[in-house]
């Protein structure tokens, strides 16, 4: 795969990444790309193109399941994370999923701090309160929930729940945030709130997101990847790709011929 963008000091380097289900059935084929720091990078493509699979491979979620084979290497902030203990890796890469999934048995407060609790990191009450407030402010949820911090997170609306999940990922100060179609289960109002939020967050964070929605990619991303049948077909500045796609397949996808 030739590289179409030249990114200096990338936050994440993906090198020859392949993911296969049941031996030989490749969902991601030999993808290499550098991801820009403090920017939003979108991964697009028709369903089944391997975009979610690739994102999950970065957090090595596939290791939870058998019969999934991953090849290639991943370098996060200069550290090879391919064989690092997943505990450490996942602490550095925050992940947000398609459907909001706050822990239903925990309060809003405990959801935000869940990363610390799960990892057995003890914080003083003051530190904990600070982390919770900062993270909830980051996702513009603080004013909405500051009086109900100790209620269950599942009472929130879908959009609020998803922002809570983003806060949960942010609380840990991740070096990259991976989002897997974070707005696909949300209504337009909640979606636009999350989009605004992501644009704001890139000041401090590096964001890699999968989206099924081209116009969303056009609205908020700085860089875009187009994947098709497991291959990275095209990667470049979003503006360039949308105005002047280099590959015929990208063009067909962007003009709505398939997908």
């Amino acid at each position: 795969m030739k590289e179409d963008v030249n990114i200096k000091d990338p936050v994440l380097s993906i090198r020859n990444l392949s993911v296969a289900y049941d031996k030989g059935n490749y969902a991601v084929k030999d993808v290499s790309a550098d991801i820009k720091r403090n920017a939003v990078t979108a991964i697009m493509g028709p369903s089944g193109c391997g975009k979610s699979t690739m994102l999950r491979a970065i957090n090595r979620m596939h290791e939870l399941y058998e019969n999934i084979e991953t090849k290639g290497s991943l370098i996060l902030n200069g550290k090879d994370i391919t064989h690092m203990p997943t505990i450490q890796l996942r602490r550095m890469a925050g992940m947000v999923f398609q459907r909001p999934n706050p822990f239903p048995t925990m309060s809003i407060y405990d959801n935000v701090i869940a990363g610390y609790k799960l990892n057995g990191i003890r914080l003083k009450k003051k530190e904990r309160d600070d982390v919770v407030e900062r993270s909830l402010r980051d996702v513009t949820l603080w004013d909405e929930v500051k009086d109900t911090l100790h209620k269950k997170g599942t009472f929130l609306s879908g959009g609020q729940q998803q922002r809570l999940c983003i806060a949960r990922a942010l609380a840990f100060d991740p070096e990259v945030i991976l989002l897997d179609e974070p707005t696909s289960a949300l209504d337009p109002v909640a979606t636009s709130k999350i989009e605004d939020l992501l644009v704001k967050l890139k000041e401090n964070y590096s964001i890699l997101m999968v989206t099924h929605n081209m116009s969303q990619a056009a609205r908020i991303s700085d860089f875009s990847m187009f994947m098709y049948l497991g291959e990275l077909v095209e990667y470049g500045k979003t503006k360039d790709m949308f105005t002047n796609p280099k590959d015929r397949r990208t063009e067909e996808y962007l003009t709505g011929k398939f997908g």
Binding site: M61, A114, L118, F172
Partner: protein, 302 residues
């Protein structure tokens, strides 16, 4: 109007009437059969109460907390306390012994090896535990487990609460695991992945996400299995030592409500029979309450 049409119309009207009647009869039969269950249940309570009246009249409510069981003619006195105590102690002990085992099995089936061949094999074997007749458990306990416990220094020839509880624990495991395994399997992957994505290990995911989400189901499973333990008869009868005393410890001999009925029924009549029926009534109520609590929890989970 032609004749053929008219006949067809009449015919179809006739058919309709016939069908309406047959539907009514069908519905009536369905309704009636559901009354059978209500009638059986009502009749059970009625008969148990009726059979227990002589004993309850003679001893009053003290029947429940008297520990004097004396069939000697003239000095006849019956109290259910030894059996109530024996039942509750053996069942609680059985539940405690079975907890770590059934919890492990449900994690094996519903989490660690979910959907794999090895889980299928293990699941089938656990199901088979439920298929072994109580009397066979009793034989195995008597001829295999008891000698082992005697070697370990258990008093009373290896009979007693402890031995009975171990066998009971094995017997109730399938009842606890079938429900909790099902509920654990139902914990959404998304939740577990959320915890993994924060860096949790598998055991941390189990204790912070899986168990809290499946808590009600796991508890309900244990309650239902406890209800099973309360009413088990043969295996307990063969191992508990059949002493009509309030057990004074974990290794003491004793008797349960079910086992005293099985043991003493053959030679019983009059007041003694009535007392056994009264114990049956108490056992019926006890298991009924425990099961109702279990079902209530399940229902509340939706």
């Amino acid at each position: 109007m032609n004749l053929g049409k008219l006949q067809a119309k009449q015919f179809s009207q006739l058919l309709n009437v016939h069908q309406m009647n047959s539907d009514k009869i069908t519905k009536g039969v369905l309704l009636l059969s559901s009354f059978v269950i209500l009638f059986v249940a009502g009749g059970m309570i009625f008969s148990l109460v009726e059979g227990a009246i002589p004993a309850l009249k003679s001893f009053g409510l003290s029947f429940i907390w008297s520990n004097n069981w004396n069939p000697t003619e003239g000095k006849e006195n019956y109290g259910a306390l030894p059996f109530i105590a024996g039942t509750i102690i053996t069942s609680v002990a059985a539940l405690l012994i079975s907890l770590p085992l059934s919890f492990s099995v449900s994690l094996f089936l519903g989490e660690y090896y979910r959907g794999t061949k090895i889980a299928k094999v293990l699941g089938t074997m656990v199901d088979l535990l439920a298929g072994i007749p109580s009397i066979v458990y009793g034989l195995w306990g008597f001829y295999v487990l008891r000698p082992l416990l005697i070697d370990l220094g258990l008093p009373n020839q290896g009979f007693g609460i402890f031995t009975a509880s171990i066998i009971l624990a094995i017997m109730i495991i399938p009842y606890a695991t079938s429900l909790s395994n099902e509920i654990i399997t139902m914990v959404p992957n998304e939740l577990k992945e959320a915890a993994y994505s924060l860096g949790a290990t598998r055991s941390e995911v189990i204790f912070s996400v899986v168990v809290p989400s499946a808590r009600s189901g796991i508890i309900a499973g244990y309650i239902l299995s406890f209800g099973r333990a309360l009413g088990e008869t043969m295996a307990v009868t063969m191992l508990i030592g059949n002493a009509n005393i309030v057990p004074d410890g974990f290794f003491s001999t004793g008797n349960t409500m079910a086992s005293v009925i099985a043991n003493q029924f053959g030679e019983a009549d009059g007041l003694k029979l009535s007392s056994l029926i009264a114990i049956g009534l108490l056992l019926f109520l006890l298991t009924g309450i425990i099961n109702a609590i279990g079902k209530f929890i399940i229902k509340r989970m939706g």
